[in-house]
């Protein structure tokens, strides 16, 4: 398709708007929120996932899946601006909310960046049709923010690799189909130079998925135990021992969050945990006229609106090359801090009802639980401390912290008493 044949963004928007209005239901995020709060049964959750798979298929059949993805891989071959126009028109309508992060970004994004032609032609169309859902096997129980210190090990055996280890904080792994996995392939190289990325299906022998119960009852996060998982070399992404090149880009896509051009979601009003309106809380408690409460409502709205404008600015600056990719960490830091503050505000407005409530308390009910979970937006998706490191070191060019592990063979890097005496391979 030549540039002249590409439909203009505004014409596309009009067409998208008309399709969305006649084909999608009004948004109703009660099931999604209930799921995040751990209030759904397994069957109800799976039904919700199936509904989203069908929604994704509907988008695909109508030509609205993978709007900015190349046509060779089942996408529409249009620009990020077309995707943004579609997203803007999506506000207020039902869409496959659970299928965006990490399925499209970072997983599909990493495959598109580093996958072989075969991998892209096999997997991207299946993602676009909602047939296969992906998740990321990145963090490890021993690693925390130090992602490059992965202990999960892949050992070559002819045309195959054998993987052993454990991954954690995988959102929705129990209902996902495929995983993108960072593993150590060389213990004698320094830690960043002995990693490789693999892909494999999750429902198979040797992959045990455990659901983790969070303090609010949510069981969305999982931990996987990999025991002698055999992966063909054709399911390797990127070069052997060059996994950190892939990993760096992977984490960039993760920090892009909803700013990624692969994401289909309305720019505002997307459901995020803790996005309870402070006006609703104040109304249901009967304190809407309190000037102190109004100050908090004003602060919450201010933080939310500035976030939207910041995301837009950073997105534009990164796309035009005025800011390095690493600038995405600025939006990530803002999001964590402001989302945490929003929970504190709701909890404060709720007064004593924040601590003890009945179901009739409306929006004020449960705000104390949100407060207990307050730090999750500052932790999930890379901590705000890591974002601060990236901003100061990669955006402002400040010296990196001194580390003792950069040039040592990985097997000699100290791992502390918590790792146990016999943990070295």
């Amino acid at each position: 398709m030549t540039a002249a044949e590409v439909e203009g963004v505004e014409g596309y928007r009009v067409r998208a708007r008309s399709w969305i209005r006649s084909n999608l239901e009004p948004a109703d995020f009660t099931t999604l929120e209930a799921g995040l709060a751990g209030e759904l049964s397994e069957a109800e959750e799976l039904a919700a996932i199936d509904h989203e798979r069908r929604l994704q298929r509907k988008l695909f059949d109508a030509g609205y899946a993978g709007i900015s993805i190349d046509r060779d891989y089942g996408g529409q071959g249009l620009s990020p601006a077309h995707q943004r126009a579609f997203n803007e028109e999506l506000t207020g309508f039902d869409y496959p909310a659970r299928l965006q992060v990490p399925n499209f970004s970072p997983c599909a994004a990493v495959l598109l960046d580093f996958g072989t032609e075969d991998q892209k032609r096999t997997h991207i169309p299946a993602i676009l049709k909602g047939e296969k859902l992906w998740m990321q096997l990145l963090s490890e129980p021993s690693g925390g923010s130090d992602v490059a210190a992965a202990l999960t090990t892949a050992v070559r055996d002819g045309d195959e690799w054998i993987l052993n280890g454990s991954k954690i904080w995988t959102t929705g792994a129990w209902w996902s189909d495929w995983g993108l996995c960072l593993a150590r392939t060389n213990w004698d190289a320094p830690k960043h130079r002995g990693l490789t990325v693999f892909i494999f299906p999750l429902h198979r022998d040797g992959v045990d998925v455990h659901r983790i119960e969070m303090l609010n009852g949510s069981k969305e996060f999982c931990q996987e135990f990999l025991t002698d998982v055999r992966v063909p070399d054709s399911d390797r992404v990127g070069d052997v021992d060059q996994g950190w090149t892939v990993g760096t880009r992977w984490m960039f896509h993760e920090r892009m969050l909803y700013n990624s051009p692969l994401i289909t979601a309305p720019p505002t009003g997307r459901p995020t945990q803790g996005a309870v309106s402070p006006v609703g809380v104040a109304r249901d408690i009967g304190v809407l006229d309190d000037p102190r409460v109004r100050d908090l409502i004003g602060e919450a709205r201010m933080l939310e609106m500035v976030e939207g404008e910041l995301q837009e600015r950073i997105g534009t600056a990164v796309r035009s090359g005025r800011m390095s990719d690493q600038g995405a960490a600025i939006a990530r830091l803002y999001h964590g801090v402001s989302a945490a503050r929003a929970r504190s505000i709701n909890f404060e407005i709720a007064g004593a009802t924040g601590a003890a409530w009945v179901d009739d308390d409306g929006s004020a009910a449960g705000r104390g639980i949100d407060f207990l979970m307050r730090q999750s937006p500052c932790i999930a998706g890379g901590t705000t401390e890591m974002a601060r490191n990236v901003i100061s070191e990669r955006v402002l060019g400040m010296p990196r912290d001194r580390t003792t592990d950069r040039d040592l063979p990985f097997r000699e890097v100290p791992r502390g008493p918590a790792a146990g005496a016999d943990s070295r391979s």
């Binding site: 006006v279 109004r294 100050d295 004003g298 602060e299 201010m302 803002y334 490191n389 901003i391």
Partner: protein, 384 residues
């Protein structure tokens, strides 16, 4: 500041930046500390030639913008004013010129009064400056000053403070109430019954006064627009003033941040640069985030005000609340990272702290604007 200015906008900004670098040096700003006017008349005239006063006035009245959207162009100038903590009555002169021009060209405008178009011409050329007498004590938005019609005259009584440049300006635009409505009156300085008492202020070059109007009688032609029907215009003028102040503060934040980043690289403690300490690096990351956020919301709100968009009132209050708060937080943290030197008169940091501090208090504090945001938000959600 705009991420992607047009070449014309870039030129406008660069010309002012160069001019301010040579004509509004830190030495010059310190020299003006005790100057009763706070800026040099010739400096202002030359600035007017660069476009400082004409961007909000249509071409038909002698003004003109570079992009077709004068307010956006003006934010580029204001940003440079902030980066240099530059002297001169940028806010009141532009607001008054825009108000006079709006009354002269609006759809319901009476015929252009010669008197007002002469004043517009004088303001555009930089020969004259103006003060907008708007704010009063007793809380943001409070209005007790009254304008009443008496035959072919209008009579003004009340007290306005702080009124920028009221003791220095050639013309005062006074905003008053008439019954439930608002009236604006243009008064030449020195009119009998008008007294101005200079105030002390945090900024080195901006000047403020208490302006008192004791039964001041003026011909009805002095009224800008119509008696009692200027509320909408006044609200727009407020937003324009807030847009200029926000752009200035973002410029001041940016400069203070740059100075402090440079300091962090150059200053060694315990054998290594400050920039190598993670505790400080993380604070720089927070500051960078506040700075980028301030740029983003300043630009978005300026766009909305320039277009008179339905959400302009909400966006400008969000911007004023955010930039007012985080501007102070950012520059105070710059002071902290500098240590004692950051609190001295000799160091330049306070020039930017002063400007940001001043701007955060004028035309509504962050707390005032959070109340406004809240009122709008509650109205939206309770209607929806």
């Amino acid at each position: 500041m705009l991420l992607e200015p047009t070449p014309d906008q870039e030129f406008l900004k660069e010309t002012t930046a160069k001019f301010l670098t040579s004509q509004a040096s830190v030495a010059e700003i310190r020299r003006l500390r005790d100057d009763p006017i706070g800026f040099d008349r010739d400096y202002w005239r030359r600035g007017a030639d660069l476009g400082w006063t004409s961007l909000l006035v249509p071409e038909a009245l002698g003004g003109g913008s570079v992009s077709g959207r004068g307010l956006i162009d003006l934010t580029l100038i204001a940003h440079e004013f902030g980066r240099h903590a530059a002297p001169g009555p940028l806010v009141p002169t532009n607001v008054v010129a825009a108000a006079l021009a709006a009354s002269a060209v609006g759809p319901s405008a009476p015929s252009v009064s010669t008197e007002h178009s002469d004043v517009i011409g004088a303001l555009l050329s930089g020969r004259a400056t103006a003060s907008w007498c708007m704010e009063e004590t007793g809380g943001f938005g409070r209005m007790t000053t009254e304008a009443r019609r008496d035959g072919q005259e209008v009579v003004l009584s009340g007290t306005k403070r702080p009124a920028e440049s009221a003791a220095q300006a050639d013309f005062l635009l006074v905003t008053a109430k008439t019954g439930e409505g608002a009236t604006q009156v243009l008064i030449p300085s020195g009119t009998p019954g008008v007294s101005v008492r200079p105030m002390q202020t945090v900024d080195l070059t901006r000047r403020f006064a208490v302006a008192t109007f004791d039964e001041v009688r003026l011909p009805i032609a002095a009224v800008v627009g119509e008696v009692g029907s200027a509320s909408e215009e006044v609200e727009h003028q407020l937003r324009v003033a807030q847009v200029i102040l926000n752009a200035e503060t973002v410029g001041a934040m940016e400069r203070a941040f740059e100075m402090t980043v440079e300091w962090a690289f150059d200053r060694y403690s315990f054998g290594r640069p400050l920039a190598s300490y993670q505790e400080l690096k993380h604070r720089f990351a927070d500051m960078k985030t506040w700075l980028e956020s301030s740029h983003a919301i300043a630009d978005a709100s300026a766009e909305a005000v320039a277009a008179k968009a339905p959400d302009a009132g909400l966006l400008i209050s969000v911007a004023k609340a955010f930039i007012g708060h985080y501007g102070g937080e950012l520059i105070q943290d710059c002071v902290q990272i500098h240590g004692g030197i950051g609190l001295t008169f000799e160091h330049d940091l306070h020039l930017f702290l002063r400007r940001a501090t001043l701007n955060s208090s004028l035309f509504g504090t962050p707390a005032d604007h959070r109340q406004r945001i809240s009122t709008i938000t509650i109205a939206e959600e309770c209607a929806g």
